[in-house]
């Protein structure tokens, strides 16, 4: 309870801080007043630029945190993470293809649907390759292959675009950014993120049982197939939608559950919720940091997350290296 409350307080504090971070220098109270009552330009800035950005940071962060915890719980492997195993990359590919072919424009919810479909394919492929126990080596190797392929096709689709700006956006799709997103993006992502969270939330008990092994889980009348399907569609739905609007942001799903796991004594069902909160806190903080560090340059969130996450990833590989051999 204490941990959840602490994370929630952090979340609210960072949300407010995010709303008061930007190019326009305005006092804290002026900004918050404008958020509710402002008719002029400051009201527009607060409601149309900063508010959707902060909400998206929460949606994206929570999705990545929850999915990281769920994948790690199901595969019983601390290295499973949506970015590293290529789910985010595949979702980005789906999003790019739907945008460049016009599917996103002409089909209602076309953008998140395409990202969701590609993410589903990636998760299914990985579970197929990694097997039920998800050995680290196969998982990481399969993840590398899926990521590389998705990244290459994303670059190709953008290179072939008739739009001269598309090529320069490879970095956005591979690294992710929340700059100048609007409520249109919030409405595109929100339903898919919520559905995904609910699906994953419903398998918390199953993940707890799985820590005792598949036989025990089965004897507790837990359907492994149902758990697997809910996991696949839940991860694809929330990571797909988050990536479709903000690009692929890696390492959040790795760092957050890793830091929080000892605090919930390794219990997967509790870890899901706290990782959701923790992921939102982390992405909000990172998004404030990119605006403070390089305000004019749109520093990509994925860059910052890789700087934090990659050393931890190496540390985890070092710790689990005996299992890798």
């Amino acid at each position: 309870m204490n941990l959840k409350l602490t994370l929630l307080i952090f979340l609210i504090a960072l949300f407010i801080l995010s709303l008061t971070t930007g190019h326009t220098t305005t006092s804290f109270s002026q900004g918050i007043t404008a958020l509710y009552y402002g008719d002029g330009p400051l009201g527009t800035v607060m409601r149309q630029i900063r508010l959707p950005r902060a909400i998206l940071a929460i949606l994206v962060g929570a999705s990545l945190g929850v999915c990281g915890a769920a994948l790690q719980g199901y595969l019983r492997n601390p290295l499973a993470e949506p970015g590293l195993i290529g789910v985010s990359g595949s979702a980005a590919l789906g999003a790019v293809i739907s945008l460049q072919t016009g599917f996103a424009t002409y089909v209602w919810m076309g953008l998140p649907i395409a990202a969701f479909s590609f993410a589903t394919l990636a998760v299914l492929l990985l579970l197929l390759l990694a097997g039920p126990r998800g050995s680290s080596l196969t998982l990481i190797l399969a993840g590398i292959a899926v990521s590389a392929l998705a990244g290459a096709f994303t670059s190709l689709a953008l290179n072939l675009s008739p739009n001269p700006y598309a090529t320069s956006e490879i970095v956005f799709w591979l690294m992710g950014s929340l700059a100048d997103r609007s409520f249109e993006h919030v409405w595109l992502a929100l339903p898919f993120c919520l559905i995904g969270w609910l699906m994953i939330g419903s398998i918390g008990k199953a993940l707890d049982a799985l820590t005792l092994g598949e036989d025990v889980a089965s004897s507790l009348s837990i359907s492994l197939t149902k758990t697997k399907l809910l996991l696949v569609f839940g991860v694809a739905s929330s990571v797909g939608a988050a990536t479709a609007v903000c690009g692929a942001i890696g390492f959040v799903g790795l760092v957050v559950p890793h830091l929080l796991r000892p605090l919930v004594k390794g219990k997967p069902s509790t870890l899901l919720l706290v990782s959701g909160l923790g992921g939102a806190v982390m992405v909000l903080a990172a998004d404030i940091a990119v605006r403070v560090i390089l305000p004019d340059r749109d520093l990509k969130l994925g860059v910052l997350m890789a700087i934090i996450g990659a050393p931890l990833f190496l540390h985890l590989i070092y710790k689990t290296r005996s299992a890798l051999q």
Binding site: Q48, N163, A166
Partner: protein
């Protein structure tokens, strides 16, 4: 030694003078740049134009896309251009260095043009092209018409509404650029100057909204999709008065900027009544 060379040079010139003069009167040309394409089309005889750049027919970049479609288009590669055997190649100073160097080393005369950002530069480029093509009189007439039209358009402006130029990725341009000049000549003040952007730079969306421009002029969007251009449709821009998009007439410093100015003035309070 020096004197000897000079004598040799002039005697060669004397002997071949008549021949070179014949081709120099009517040199055949290839253009590698969308802006020099337009100067060439405006001033050359049809028979003088061997080939134009590929984007000369792109309606988003070339103000004379339709006229250009009746000429041959080249890919601006050295091999292709050399085989076309032009007397003069027209290029921009930013045309691929390797191509230009290769052509020059093969003995082709390459004339490099700076992109014109001011009226003076546009006029100089027109006169230079006219001279190179052997049509000085044609160039002078064109310059005279251009100047007369500009004087006509720029008189009678009393108010200067504040305008913002806003392109993909939140880019804007200041008074030292061609677009800034067009804005100024049309009778608008540029908010880029207010915030200290004199050439080009990023104008954060928040600052654009806070500076409350009277009108906002956005860039043309290209086919296909890009995140860079999504910012032009951001809901936060809706309360602003969005008027027109920059088009091919804004790309090159040619007499076609007159059309860009005319289009802009359809919303200028001092010019609307006279239309």
């Amino acid at each position: 030694m020096h004197l000897f060379r000079l004598i040799a040079f002039y005697s060669v010139l004397y002997f071949f003078g008549t021949i070179t003069l014949a081709t120099e009167n009517n040199p055949k040309v290839v253009s590698l740049n969308v802006c020099t394409d337009q100067f060439v089309m405006l001033l050359a005889d049809d028979s003088q134009i061997i080939s134009l750049s590929e984007i000369s027919t792109d309606i988003l970049s070339s103000a004379m896309a339709e006229e250009a479609s009746k000429y041959h288009q080249n890919n601006s590669g050295a091999e292709e251009v050399y085989l076309l055997q032009p007397d003069i190649v027209f290029a921009g100073i930013y045309t691929a260095k390797a191509t230009v160097n290769m052509l020059e080393s093969l003995g082709i005369r390459v004339e490099k043009f700076e992109p014109a950002n001011t009226i003076e530069q546009i006029i100089l480029n027109m006169q230079r092209t006219g001279k190179l093509l052997g049509h000085t009189d044609r160039a002078n007439t064109l310059v005279a018409n251009f100047e007369a039209r500009l004087t006509d358009l720029t008189t009678g402006i009393n108010t200067r509404p504040r305008a913002a130029l806003y392109y993909a990725n939140g880019y804007t341009t200041g008074e030292n650029t061609l677009a800034g000049q067009i804005l100024d000549l049309a009778g608008f003040s540029n908010i880029a100057s207010e915030i200290g952007i004199h050439w080009g730079g990023t104008l954060p969306l928040e600052l654009l909204i806070m500076s409350k421009p009277d009108v906002i002029i956005t860039g043309t969007t290209y086919p296909g999709s890009s995140r860079s251009e999504e910012i032009l449709k951001h809901p936060a821009l809706k309360p602003l008065r969005h008027v027109s998009s920059t088009d091919a007439n804004w790309v090159c410093g040619t007499p076609y900027i007159v059309k860009a100015i005319e289009d802009l003035q359809t919303i200028h309070p001092d010019k609307m009544s006279t239309k």
